[in-house]
Each structure stands twice: as structure tokens, then as C-alpha cells.
């Protein structure tokens, strides 16, 4: 059982790291503000979500697991709000084409 959980951890955290890598490459390579934001939110939402999912089996207790999920939810909320605000500012200043 613990072996299977370790495999889950390795697979999920690696997938999360891949999303962070892809998000960073997108942030650096995409042509304008809106597509860059799109790449960045993938890293935040999916990347961090997969890392948290992978860490859940290693959390030890329900309390620690809930804290990890709480961190992910807060990051989701902050990421979604901030990217909306940045996108709006970019549209108003005319830099998003």
C-alpha cells in the first residue's frame, strides 16, 4: 500500500513540476500579456494542485492534509483574482493585442 502511495506521490509531483516548467516556458515565450497570463495560471492551478495531490499521501495526518488542500485553494483564489485584475489593466492600457 505504502509503495503504491509513494508511486502516486512521485508521479503527481513530477507532473506538477512539468506544469510549472511548461507555465514558465509559456510565460517567457508567449507573445502578449493575455496568453502569458494563461500560461502562468496553468502552473498555479494544475501544477500546484498536482504537487499538493502528490504530497497528500505523505501528509501523515488529516489536519496536515487539510492544510495542504487549503493552501492550494487559497492559491487558486489569489491566482484567479490577480490574473483577472492584470488582464483588465492590460486591456485598459492597450498593451493586450
Amino acid at each position: 500500500m505504502s509503495f503504491a502511495l509513494d508511486i502516486l506521490t512521485i508521479v503527481a509531483v513530477s507532473a506538477g513540476a512539468f506544469f510549472f516548467l511548461a507555465g514558465t516556458v509559456g510565460l517567457l515565450r508567449f507573445p502578449d500579456t493575455l496568453t502569458r497570463l494563461h500560461a502562468l495560471t496553468k502552473a498555479d492551478n494544475l501544477g500546484l494542485g498536482l504537487v499538493v495531490l502528490g504530497l497528500l499521501p505523505q501528509a501523515g495526518s488529516l489536519r496536515h492534509g487539510l492544510k495542504l488542500v487549503g493552501i492550494w485553494l487559497l492559491a487558486l483564489l489569489a491566482g484567479a483574482t490577480v490574473s483577472q485584475l492584470i488582464a483588465r489593466a492590460a486591456r485598459q492600457s492597450g498593451s493586450a493585442r
Binding site: 487559497l74 483564489l77 489569489a78 483574482t81 483577472q84 485584475l85 483588465r88
Partner: protein, 316 residues
């Protein structure tokens, strides 16, 4: 070499590079962004050094509130920046600045490298005397009991900082409200966040204050989270900044150092020395009272530091 060592080396290299970039960046805004990134990575180094209390403070102040303060300053300086950048100082000034920097860096390096090995430490003594206060977190013990004087003076420094910011106000605006009145659409994203996040943030802030007795956390970390929640509500336009002439506001601003001073004088009157706490069953409640007063002062002070000098009359 383990994976952890490689991670630490990469982390140290990135932090050093960010430090150099922050100094070398030409634009104030770019330098500020570099500094914020630096302030978010340094906490990871503190965590690797097992100094979680310091990491929490550094993340809240260095990366969070300090970053916002500098971003605000950079935005204000932007119109005058080309003029400032055009005036290059003379060769002698630049050479002496470089010389002074190299000497300071060399002195710091010598101080660190010439430390005896193992470095002198009071950590075992602090841990051994933890029972004197009834708190299990050695950092809180040092801050609130063994070196309580420093912490009290730190709160006085916060007070002086807010006096310094307020003294930039024009005579007409004195006693008024700091900063512009923020307006946001009532159904906008920012207002949504400002209604959703503060209940969570206030609980987390108070939890971090409370858990500071036995685990990493404390008044400064909790206070900065509370300040951030307050600022979020102000920025979303749900509430206004308080008028700096208000009596209650002034009372909260001096509550932290004031209560600390009263407890300290109590130690002088009823105990052996200034800031001497009574024996264990009574020490912890007293420390908690100081911490609660301090967290209110810290939250309000940090919020007002970011809000800036009063700009509008009370009615405006």
C-alpha cells in the same frame, strides 16, 4: 552530494543573482520587482536553516508589505525618474562609493569568516530556561522574555516610523485620511476577493499569533497578515482609511509599546527588575496580554505605513 545540498546551492545562487540584479537594474520598477522576488526566496533559505519564525517574518515583511511599499514608491517616482537617471555623479563620487561598498563587504565577510568554530551561541541556554515562562517556542521566549527590551523598543521604532510618514502631510490635510479613496465596481473581482478572503485571513492571522507560544509564529507574522486583510478591504473601496486624528486609532497605535511598558514597570515595582515576569503560572497570561496588544498595534501600524501620509480632510 545529496539532492537537498544541490537544491540549497541553486537557491543560494539564485538569491545572490537576484541581489546583484536588483542593484544593477536601471529602472526603479524593475529593481523593485527583483527585490520582491529576492524577498520571497530568502524565506526558503531560512526554512532550510530551520529558522521558520524568521522565514515567516521575512516572507510577510520582505516579500509582502515591504514589496508593496517599494512598488508604491517606484510608482510615485516614475515621472521624475528620467531626470534623476540623467544626472550621473562624478568619477570621484562613484569611485569612493565603490571603495566604501568593497570595504563594508570585506568587513562583513571577515566578521563571518573569523567566527570561532563552533560559533558562540546562547541557544542551549534559551532552550534550557524555557520552563521559566511556560512557552515552548524558544524564539517567542527570547523575543518576549529573555530579550524583551529589544522587542519593546522595536515597537517604539514602528511608532516613530508612522510619525515620520505622517509628518510628510501638508498642514491642510493634517488629521485627515491617508491615501486616495479607492473605488472599485461593486461587482468587480477585487471586491469579490475583499469579501471572501478576509474571514479566512483574520482566522489565519489570529491562529499564527496564538500558535506562536509553542510553534513558529507570533505577533509580527500574525499582525502583518491582519494588516494585509485590512489593506485589501481598503483597496477594494469597501471601507475608507481612518482619519489619523482619531482618538481610538492613536490609542491602538500606542497599545503595544504602552502595555509592554506597563508590564515592564510592574516588574520593576513588584519584582526584581524592569520587564521581570512573575513565576510560571502567571508569566504566560501576562505575555499573551502583551502579544494581543502588540498584534493590534502591528496590524494598524503596518496598514497605515502603506496607506501613507494624510492627504484629504476628514470629510473628503
Amino acid at each position: 552530494m545529496t539532492v537537498a545540498t544541490i537544491l540549497e546551492m541553486v537557491l543560494a545562487a539564485v538569491v545572490l543573482a537576484l541581489g546583484v540584479w536588483t542593484i544593477a537594474a536601471r529602472e526603479t520598477f524593475a529593481a523593485t520587482v527583483g527585490y520582491v522576488a529576492y524577498g520571497l526566496l530568502v524565506p526558503l533559505i531560512w526554512v532550510r536553516l530551520d529558522a521558520v519564525d524568521v522565514a515567516l517574518t521575512e516572507a510577510a515583511i520582505g516579500g509582502g508589505l515591504g514589496g508593496v511599499l517599494l512598488l508604491g514608491a517606484a510608482a510615485r517616482l516614475r515621472p521624475s525618474e528620467p531626470a534623476t537617471a540623467a544626472e550621473t555623479p562624478g568619477k570621484i563620487v562613484r569611485l569612493s562609493a565603490a571603495g566604501a561598498s568593497v570595504m563594508i563587504a570585506a568587513a562583513l565577510a571577515a566578521a563571518v569568516l573569523l567566527l570561532p568554530d563552533p560559533a558562540p551561541t546562547l541557544a542551549p541556554a534559551a532552550v534550557a530556561n524555557a520552563s521559566a515562562t511556560g512557552l515552548a517556542n524558544p524564539v517567542t521566549n527570547v523575543l518576549m522574555a529573555f530579550r524583551a527590551m529589544d522587542t519593546m523598543l522595536e515597537k517604539v521604532v514602528l511608532l516613530l516610523a508612522i510619525v515620520g510618514v505622517w509628518s510628510l502631510a501638508s498642514d491642510r490635510a493634517w488629521g485627515g485620511r491617508p491615501g486616495p479613496r479607492h473605488q472599485a465596481g461593486p461587482h468587480g473581482v477585487l471586491v469579490f476577493l475583499a469579501r471572501l478572503l478576509p474571514p479566512v485571513g483574520i482566522v489565519v492571522g489570529i491562529y499564527i499569533l496564538w500558535t506562536g507560544a509553542n510553534h513558529p509564529g507570533g505577533a509580527f507574522q500574525g499582525g502583518s497578515i491582519l494588516a494585509a486583510m485590512w489593506l485589501l478591504v481598503i483597496m477594494a473601496g469597501l471601507t475608507d482609511t481612518p482619519a489619523v486624528g482619531g482618538r481610538w486609532l492613536r490609542l491602538v497605535l500606542i497599545a503595544g509599546p504602552g502595555v509592554f511598558l506597563i508590564v515592564g514597570l510592574g516588574g520593576l515595582c513588584f519584582g526584581p527588575a524592569f520587564l521581570a515576569y512573575p513565576l510560571p503560572p502567571h508569566a504566560k497570561p501576562l505575555i499573551l496580554i502583551i502579544e494581543v496588544a502588540m498584534v493590534s498595534t502591528i496590524a494598524v501600524t503596518l496598514g497605515l505605513l502603506l496607506a501613507g501620509a494624510p492627504e484629504r480632510s476628514d470629510q473628503g
